[in-house]
């Protein structure tokens, strides 16, 4: 273990740790939390999981939760209120371990007003019951923030009906199916034993009728989704896999009921119940979801609930939805600009990294127009709202609904196969029906239903949920989260990949700084660093961070000339740092598109710092891998400064587009789709939201997958970008597995059919063949996917 690790969060404390009570901390924030917990004797927090604390980079704003004092908002947020008792749910994305659960469930030790709290870990939520007269909603939020569990309260949390009811019906369906399956099996068992035919007639009747009663809820409730889905497919003129399944279920049910009514035993009731049970298990396996991740987010889950409005010189809290054109608002440090607006007082320094992935904040001054979605870094400033929140440019773009229709989701690989499969089965069924007609109608009907029963593609239907479900789990363990299993097939079908540039292939909030010019000594570097330290300009901060190896000293003079640069003197040497105009007196060539910071010592130009984007690790290899197989496109909102560099990385066949607006990106995807391409869009920011929705598969790259990401089909942890090519290639392995599984299930089908057409299908044969085929296919699919992943997909480093 690192000797120098912060006792709270485990980060390296560096050379100057904060020490309290002989314990080392990386920062005052961590120390503050430790002190609170120590005072309340909640030290066990550090025992359950050592160094599990959360580090907060930027100190929290004092007034961040001021809006919770607004009675309108405070009334909407709680789940329920009854006199003095209130229950509220907070979403806390930083919940990550057992210690978090422990601490958040001991909140009552921190404040007597809290009566009870419990954590839902998969959803990263905490439910808190508290007494209104002892603690307010705002104080509660601030208490959580004080121990670094900052609740995320966004606009969509206030919407009525946004607290979704979880669909638990699948589990109940499975429960009922398993209940009936196991009981019916007990009644069927005597018939399979030697001497089963000696069973007294009376028992046969009782067992038959019991099974019939038990199968009713299974056929009419547990399996009902299959009939609906088959019917939905037929309406779209698609024969989905659910059609032969429904036919099989119905044939099994009618045939078995017929036998029960005639007192001939209990037919295939056990196979029928087992079949539906296995199918539902497959559905459940496939339905794995990442509850804390949201793939459906629109701007409402990004926007704050309220904003500070200035009415006749007084600050009031206004809910965002009440904001009107012409309103005057105050935006503080770290706050979000909720609507398109114009600056009227103060200076903006807008961080658009969530919107565009831009690494550096953009400076704005009075009179400038600002799009909604940026975050202010620096002192507060005032704005006049130009458009209402819902009318703002990006808001409208994020709010679009996906055009992907219901029918297209049915047009998949399995359903293509089942189309032919169903036709072939029906032909066999009718042919054997007419062949056996000579022997009497009852035999013919028996053979007909036998064919439908045994051909019921149960194993076929289980292959896909288990193969794709396993693929999804394997991906999830490696930092790539799919919305649903269909995305595996969409990834496989991809032939065109479109990348966004800023924030996607470049690293968010990180830049590549290089110095061009005369060699400068380390003393000179430390002098530059000393000077830029006093400037609040984002470029100054970048240069300051770049020169982090050098010490600083205090400059004798310092002056910042807005829009130009900084000037000052250290050790008698005059330094000018800033634009070329300011430092050298000549203006930059108009072709230069990157940011440059020029430096002169005693008016002698030394050179400049070129500030460019920092590309993701492994970008070159990824593009080389993908280039051979896919049609690559880059679509960037940025200027062409790095075209040449990117042309090398993407290869000569790639299309590189620059200066594209969010709407352009969306149209470009539409154009590609019209050409019949299957488009995978890889983006990150809200400006890609339209394109991500429009594409066949939208993948979002996120530094923190639990924080906001635009609506998409899959979310990828940014550190895994370096193996994105392997993830896509893995979907091909998934399809190999599916093909082999199909073959296995087909062999079982051929064996079964040969019994059926020969009129030899007994309940015993069905009872052995159907589960055997299902289980072997499921085992094959899950095992091989996990095995292939072990060799082809590294869990961490490449």
């Amino acid at each position: 273990m690192n000797q120098n690790a912060c006792i709270h969060c485990g980060a390296d404390c560096g050379n100057s740790p904060v020490v309290w009570n002989e314990k080392m901390f990386c920062c005052h924030g961590c120390k503050a939390v430790y002190e609170i917990l120590h005072e309340k004797e909640l030290g066990q927090y550090y025992e359950i999981q050592p160094m599990s604390g959360i580090r907060i980079e930027t100190p929290q704003q004092l007034k961040k939760f001021e809006f919770l004092d607004n009675p309108e908002i405070a009334a909407k947020l709680p789940d329920f209120m009854d006199g003095n008792a209130t229950r509220v749910t907070f979403f806390i994305p930083t919940i990550h371990c057992a210690s978090c659960i422990w601490l958040l469930e001991h909140l009552n030790t921190l404040h007597p007003g809290i009566s009870f709290s419990d954590v839902n870990f998969p959803k990263k939520e905490v439910h808190i019951s508290f007494k209104n007269d002892q603690i307010t909603l705002r104080q509660l939020a601030e208490l959580l923030a004080a121990i670094h569990y900052v609740p995320e309260i966004t606009l969509d949390r206030l919407e009525p009906g946004k607290k979704p009811k979880i669909d638990r019906s699948l589990l109940i369906r499975i429960g009922i199916a398993s209940f009936s399956f196991l009981n019916i099996m007990m009644y069927s068992f005597p018939e399979y034993l030697p001497g089963g035919d000696l069973l007294e007639q009376e028992f046969k009747h009782i067992f038959g009728w019991l099974s019939f009663l038990l199968i009713l809820p299974v056929v009419f409730y547990s399996a009902s989704d299959y009939y609906l889905s088959a019917w939905k497919g037929l309406r779209h003129k698609i024969i989905s896999i659910d059609l032969p399944i429904s036919l099989g279920i119905i044939a099994l049910f009618l045939q078995s009921s017929w036998e029960v009514f005639n007192g001939n035993g209990i037919g295939y009731m056990d196979s029928l119940a087992g079949l539906i049970f296995f199918l539902l298990i497959g559905k459940w396996y496939q339905g794995k979801t990442y509850q804390a991740l949201s793939f459906e987010r629109d701007y409402k889950s990004y926007f704050p609930v309220a904003v500070t409005q200035i009415i006749v010189g007084k600050e009031t809290i206004t809910p965002i939805k009440d904001l009107r054109k012409g309103d005057r608002i105050l935006i503080r440090n770290q706050e979000l600009i909720p609507a398109d607006a114009r600056i009227i007082k103060g200076k903006g320094n807008i961080d658009y990294s969530f919107v565009t992935g831009e690494a550096l904040p953009v400076p704005k001054s009075e009179g400038d127009f600002i799009y909604a979605g940026g975050r202010q870094i620096g002192s507060s400033f005032e704005l006049i709202v130009e458009k209402e929140v819902e009318q703002s440019y990006l808001t409208r773009l994020w709010d679009q609904k996906s055009t992907k229709d219901e029918a297209s989701s049915l047009r998949n690989h399995v359903n293509n196969i089942s189309h032919y499969f169903t036709i072939v089965i029906l032909i066999i069924a009718f042919t054997s029906f007419f062949y056996w007609l000579g022997e009497g109608i009852s035999v013919a009907v028996y053979v007909f239903s036998s064919v439908l029963i045994i051909a019921c593609p149960c194993a076929l239907a289980l292959t896909v949920p288990f193969t794709f479900g396993s693929t999804m789990r394997v991906f999830g363990r490696r930092g790539f989260y799919l919305k649903k299993t269909d995305v595996v097939e969409q990834l496989y079908r991809t032939d065109t990949i479109v990348f966004d540039k800023t924030g996607t292939i470049t690293i968010n909030r990180e830049v590549d700084v290089e110095f061009y010019g005369e060699l400068i000594t380390s003393e000179e570097k430390s002098m530059i660093r000393s000077l830029v330290r006093h400037s609040s300009h984002p470029l100054s901060k970048t240069v300051y961070d770049h020169l982090n190896l050098f010490d600083t000293s205090e400059p004798q003079t310092f002056e910042e000339i807005p829009g130009m640069g900084i000037t000052g003197s250290i050790h008698g040497i005059r330094l000018n740092i800033g634009s070329r105009q300011f430092v050298a007196g000549t203006s930059d060539h108009s072709e230069i598109k990157e940011s440059r910071v020029y430096v002169s010592f005693n008016n002698e130009l030394k050179g400049y710092f070129a500030i460019g984007n920092a590309y993701r690790k492994g970008l070159q290899e990824v593009m080389t891998q993908l280039g051979g197989r896919y049609d690559l496109h880059l679509i960037s909102g940025d200027n062409e400064a790095e075209r040449e560099k990117l042309a090398v990385i993407f290869g000569k066949d790639a299309t590189l587009l620059f200066n594209q607006s969010p709407a352009d990106k969306k149209e470009y995807i539409q154009k590609l789709k019209k050409q019949g391409k299957k488009v995978l869009m890889v983006g990150d920011g809200l400006n890609d939201a339209g394109a991500l929705l429009e594409s066949d598969t939208g993948v979002t790259i996120a530094d923190d997958v639990f924080s906001f990401s635009p609506a998409c089909d899959a979310i990828m942890t940014s550190s895994r970008f370096e193996i994105i090519d392997r993830f896509i290639a893995f979907t091909r392995s998934s399809f190999h597995v599916i093909r082999v599984s199909f073959l296995i299930s087909l062999i079982y089908n051929v064996i079964g059919l040969s019994f059926a057409v020969a009129a030899l299908l007994s309940p015993l044969v069905a009872a052995i063949l159907m589960p055997a085929s299902s289980i072997s296919v499921v085992a094959f699919a899950t095992l091989s996917i996990n095995l292939i992943a072990k060799y082809k997909l590294p869990v961490s480093e490449r």
Binding site: E41, R168, I206
Partner: protein, 65 residues
């Protein structure tokens, strides 16, 4: 003969009882979160309240002496 029928009826009633319990458990949300409870049960119950009480007891003992 009648013994077997009696047993079958009991068997179904017991199984149906479990089914009802399962449905109740699902409906009441016990399957919504399959992680937190598994961790929660491992926590020791040494909260501040508990320790305060023991401290008070100790104090009382000292006072009494």
């Amino acid at each position: 003969m009648s013994a077997i029928i009696f047993l079958i009826i009991i068997g179904i009633i017991v199984a149906a009882g479990f089914l009802a319990a399962f449905i109740w458990a699902v409906r009441s949300g016990q399957y919504d979160d399959d992680y937190s409870p598994s961790v929660r049960m491992l926590f020791d119950n040494k909260t501040k309240v508990g320790e305060e009480q023991t401290k008070e007891k100790q104090n009382n003992n000292i006072d009494n002496q």
